[in-house]
């Protein structure tokens, strides 16, 4: 059990406050190759330069701010273009950063840059040639245990339990060793069925936090990238399976690949999985074409007692940091893909949120601050940034004034209500 001691009245033993923190580092694209110089900031030769290398900056951030996490997850693309030096460098850095965070484990999955494409393999290459670099890592990839590695590479998935967290580690690059299969991710019907079977076997040991960790995005990303064809085939079916289960909480899908951070819900019901798309820690976004994205690092936080009290499942909070070249790691800006703080899991329509906000206005005032909203109802801390944006639009439509007066901001500091309006 992951526990942190909490405050308690004098004379009483400290009450256990069950808080789980999960750090997420994605798409590092580390390299030692001169040819990759412009592609990525995570270069072996700048490993100690915190202003120019995001991994070094992250190490410094974690130390300077005494950040903590119980687990460190990496949704793949540790290396850039299967660069061996980069892969080893990133894996070692993750290990070191995890140590500083106090994390028990580093858990990663395979990205398309971590394996040799089938079309690039020499004729007669053995079956393991395309994952040879990963197999050679120490401690063993993907989770530090040789038995786990055997299962993962043979089954294309692994289910880990680090109570109270359950993680499905999916290899969405399972077919990349076959020529012509590199362009997209996949989750075969068999893999999906096997996952479901394993989860069913674990029904007697439910966990309040359920995570699917994979590299490729499980659904299309057309609204952000009209030409997107690299999503995970079989992803919708996988999500549907997870949505249909009677697990204690909704699944949280953590993936990378698109280098754009996003947080929302993907599915058909209000119990649809949460989708956390992690931005890239270190890819050079200018050459990558992502002009409005930022290099980011995250910590997801689950305060289990509070979630229980609030009767929220599949909910949590996040913190995000931006890496800015020549500066280092700083708290994420409001106009980054994900802001410095936020939440997810409290799912309400914008009209309901507006009404809830109105109820929180102190007597004698016609405005309410974010802190006052939280004091009135802690669930406000679990409203997703996209829903806050929608709430802003709704408030403006109703003639009220959210502050700061920045269009499309993912945060609210205060809401000014018009007189005589509900």
């Amino acid at each position: 059990m992951l526990t942190v001691a909490g405050d308690s009245p004098p004379g009483q033993a400290p009450a256990a406050v069950r808080t789980v923190r999960i750090a997420v580092v994605s798409d590092i694209h580390a390299s030692g190759a001169l040819a990759d110089k412009g592609d990525t900031y995570a270069k072996c030769e700048t490993r100690d330069d915190a202003r120019r290398n995001p991994l070094a900056a992250l190490r410094q951030l974690v130390g300077d701010e005494a950040l903590e996490a119980d687990l460190l997850l990496c949704p793949g693309d540790l290396a850039n273009k299967i660069n061996g030096d980069g892969l080893e460098y990133a894996w070692n850095e993750l290990k070191e950063i995890a140590g500083t965070l106090g994390a028990r484990r580093v858990i990663a999955t395979i990205g398309n840059h971590d394996v040799t494409r089938g079309e690039d393999l020499p004729d007669g290459a053995d079956a393991e040639a395309w994952i040879a670099a990963l197999r050679g890592l120490d401690p063993p990839f993907p989770a530090g245990d040789p038995d786990d590695a055997r299962i993962f590479f043979s089954e294309d998935f692994l289910v880990l339990t680090e109570a109270p967290v359950r993680i499905i580690l999916l290899n969405s690059c399972a077919r990349h060793g076959v020529a012509g299969e590199f362009a997209r991710g996949s989750c075969s019907d068999k893999t999906r069925a096997d996952i479901e079977q394993v989860l069913d076997q674990m029904n007697e040991e439910p966990c309040p936090i359920n995570i699917l960790l994979c590299h490729h995005h499980p659904i299309e990303w057309r609204h952000m990238s009209p030409d997107d064809t690299s999503r995970m085939e079989g992803g919708e079916a996988l999500l549907a399976m997870l949505e249909g289960r009677a697990d204690p909480s909704e699944w949280i899908v953590i993936h990378g690949h698109r280098h754009v951070a996003a947080l929302g819900y993907v599915g058909e019901s209000t119990s649809a999985p949460v989708r956390f798309s992690a931005g890239s820690l270190a890819i050079n976004l200018h050459t990558d074409g992502r002009q409005h994205a930022r290099n980011q690092f995250y910590i997801l936080e689950f305060e289990l007692d509070e979630l229980e009290r609030l009767e929220l499942t599949g909910a949590g909070r996040f913190r995000a940091w931006d890496f800015t070249y020549s500066v280092g790691m700083v708290a994420a800006a409001d106009d980054s893909d994900l802001p410095s703080r936020g939440g997810f899991g409290f799912r309400r329509k914008k009209s309901e949120l507006a009404a809830l906000a109105r109820q929180a206005v102190p007597n004698g005032q016609r405005s309410v601050t974010w802190d006052e909203l939280l004091a009135h109802n802690r669930r406000w801390g679990y409203v997703a940034p996209a829903d806050i944006r929608q709430l802003r639009f709704e408030l403006e439509r109703m003639g009220h004034t959210p502050e700061p007066r920045i269009a499309n901001a993912p945060t609210i500091e205060r809401i000014g209500f018009a007189r005589n309006r509900s």
Partner: protein, 623 residues
Amino acid sequence: MLATDPDKGPYSRFNARRATPAQVATGFVPPDEYWELASSTDPQLLIGPRGIGKTTLLKMLMTEALEVWDHEQAPRAHREVRFTGAFVAADKMWAGQLDQLEIEIPAEHRSRFGVAAFSYMALGALARAGLARIGKSGDEREHDRVELSVAQQEELAAMVADSWHAPASIATMSGLEDQMGINLAALGTLMQHVATPGLTPTEIKTAVQDPLLEIDFFTAASLFIDLFNKAVGQRDHPWVILIDEFEFLPDGSQRQLGGAFQGRNPRLSFKMSIAPYTGRRSFAGTPLNDWLPVHLSRPRREQADHFSDALIQRQIADRARTFGDRSEASPTPQAIFREGGFEAREEDSYAPGSENDKDAAALAAIDTDFKRWFEEKIGAGGMRGPDTPGYNELRKAMPLIRLRLAYLREGGGPGSPHRIPELYAGIHNIRAMGEGNPRWLKALTHALLERWEGGQKIVPRDQQARAIQSTAEELYNTLKAVPIEHRVSDTDSVQTPAPGPGDDRISPFQLITRLGIFLREQTHGEAFRTNQPGAFKIDVEDPWVQDVVHSLVFLGALVYEDAEGSDPDAEAVRLAHMWAPIFRLLPRKGRERSLRVALERSAPALKRRHSASGQVPFPEGGG
């Protein structure tokens, strides 16, 4: 009227325009003019060239700056600044957009856009200024803080919302400030729409009836001020709009500010900064006639030295802290940089065998005209003491003797080395080149203190020379890119880029180069002359050249040769002493010559040095 782009001028990295009030307050050393501004709520016009500190002085009247200013005079500022300062930077981009659309937007509407734009900027500044005063914690550095409850803020915001074109539901000062930015952006969109080609007069007429343009700044500001004052129990508390760079205000608002806003509310006043070198000789008969001028120009030598030393001392203390030295007593500028190479030596003797005597003899050995001069003035027997005829003339000529000797010793011809001699090191030269201009001084000391190792260590003279040279060269090179705004009438101007290759008109860079070459040839020519030229009577009739001269004064690259260097009616200019090492000159004044003649005489010399590309090369010896 000429104005040059403030964001492209020299030393833009030391430009207070981009600094927050707190950043400006760090290292601020108050000149006398600051107290003139601080102690008065009268409308004042702060006049001075680029880099002289106008923006800094205005920002130092803001609450945010006063509360972080750490200086022995800070308590005095807290006592004397008895108003709330709201800083507005004229948005050159906005004015530029308006100018670019002048053909598309009918004249009768252009000024309304300009007035509305300024109004929203100024109202946003008022809201920010109010916000900065809210909340008392008892910290002794707080300045004029007040208590204003959430309900009171909500009430105030609601009551001004209509006149500020803000939603009635807006609840805070911060919200009001943000909303003014939104209004400004919307105004820009409206302006672009009105400028759309093909829009019919009817469509334009409809568009300009947009409520955004119906903003009455005076009424809106007065309402806010009076409500705020009433809410905090300070009914007569004055507020002052601090407008930076009047010359960049949008069209229309300049006229408004000149007269319309004055005297209508005793609790609302203004202070503006302006660069005077705009072709305008005085403000008599203009709307600015009633403003009290505060001249922030190059002060007299004594004041400038005192100010320079105080500023450099502050920079030294800041630099010392980076070495971990937090002691009260950091070394003085004199201790770190020592005396200048052109100043009198400690042992000011001209006796045989003295350093002065050796220098004179050395020069006489290689400079035949100096030898002739020396023998004529002093005699073949040489200097024998203060009673020797010509002694006083020799004393006055010693700096020039050292300068010529330094360059002649090192070659001095076309292939001469690019490094300036160590003569240019020393605190006297630093003061002279800085000319009491904060931005110039900061640029110099920044480069110099990078070479300081802390403690009581001296910056070696060769290192000082390198730093001074690199600073001067950097500044000199930036002149190449400075555009010129050529005023074609009293109310209209056209911005033109600096003339390029093939353009016969002289550019600012060329003018400085020509004058510098002229003076260099006078200083290092065959004839040894003690009465060196150093100033130029503005006797050219070409209005373009006149405008270039005035724009260079605006930048600080030329200085009016009057007692204070500020009078646009002055008839002569001199090169800023910053150029002295570039052109191998003494950093001091000289006698007046004709500008026309100087430009004519230097042109052939310049043409001979043109490279194959047609570009004017960097002058020899300047790096």
